[in-house]
Point group: C2
Chain length 178, copies 2
DNA sequence: GTACCCATGTAATCAGTTACATGATTCC
DNA sequence: GGAATCATGTAACTGATTACATGGGTAC
């Protein structure tokens, strides 16, 4: 049910069309909540039916500009302050870790080595993004920067963990041989 | 498509029934890949149709014990070594952060304070789990412990981040007033 | 006039959740 | 005999992904 709130949150910053929202999603929200074009248009329709957004203006090429209503703002605030975030997060990266025992130790270490590389690359992408976001002073930039800081710290932690895990498996393998 | 591989991974440790798998999921895999009973039985049926598992034995009460086949092991190894894990992870906790600007600073800080509490509680649960897992010496315990270490480090990082974010918002609010 | 971007929508499919439905066996 | 546990399955619904389909406006 979070896509609905993501849309409300973006419309709380100002009116926008489905097309505008898609670009904002791709640019800033895609790291925490990806959404496809068809999902967005569908959700806007449902929100309009529920009275949480309205078509504020129509433009060329059938463009519909949506605005959040009072009911929509109330729902957004409710979600922000009263609804507890999901604590379980699916991770197929960690799921694989449970089963590394079916590989020989070299391949298990290879898996973790690739994770170090991948997460390092992602850290660099976040770093580059931070430079851009630091320019902005709108609400989405200010709080987007805080979310991005999470990404920077998270990728750093994950890199250290993957290195630690690699070593632990190496020691495990040596102990088994000797 | 990861549930399929989670099931293969568990059956790689030894034969089991759908009922057994459900218990193992609840006990160890639920933190990285939750699955419901109905999903499990459905997936076992599909895997059997695909020839990646077989019914190795039947027991009382209609119990079917499944075993992984060579084709299933090949698929599992392929998934572990060749398929890149998803890098995007949905987080409604972080999604909310983007929109904290619609709240007044006190409520925004309240949100982050609650996250500190929630993640601290989860850290403690992981710590308790670690004591239990450290006892086991089977493959799932050894690698499960490595996954758990990720959880311990991740929750620690998240707690520090949430504290930092709280302070940053406090400073932001003071600067806006002054 | 043609290529590119703006702009919206539908259909099919898949994964995951919740609820329902049923019955056998074991323990006391 | 009754409760708890073992054990499997189906149905309805929701959310997300992929692909398809269409057409208007703008810049050159």
């Amino acid at each position: 049910m979070s896509l609905r709130h993501a849309v409300l949150g973006l419309l709380a910053q100002g009116p926008a069309s489905g097309y505008d929202l898609r670009k904002t999603f791709d640019a800033s929200l895609s790291n925490v909540w990806p959404a496809t074009q068809s999902q967005l248009y569908g959700e806007l329709g449902k929100l309009a039916d529920a009275g949480q957004v309205t078509v504020a203006a129509e433009g060329p090429r059938g463009r519909k500009e949506y605005a959040i209503t009072d009911a929509g703002m109330a729902e957004l605030r409710h979600w922000l302050t009263e609804v507890e975030p999901e604590r379980v997060r699916r991770s197929d990266m960690l799921l694989r870790v449970f089963f590394l025992g079916v590989l020989d130790p070299e391949d298990a270490q290879g898996y973790l080595r690739r994770q170090v590389q991948a997460v390092t690359a992602q850290h660099e992408r976040f770093r580059a993004l931070a430079d851009v976001v630091d320019e902005g002073d709108d609400s989405l930039s200010v709080y987007g920067r805080i979310a991005l800081e999470w990404g920077l710290r998270f990728t750093e932690t994950q890199r250290e963990w993957a290195r630690w895990a690699q070593e632990r498996i190496a020691r495990e393998a040596t102990a088994a041989k000797g």
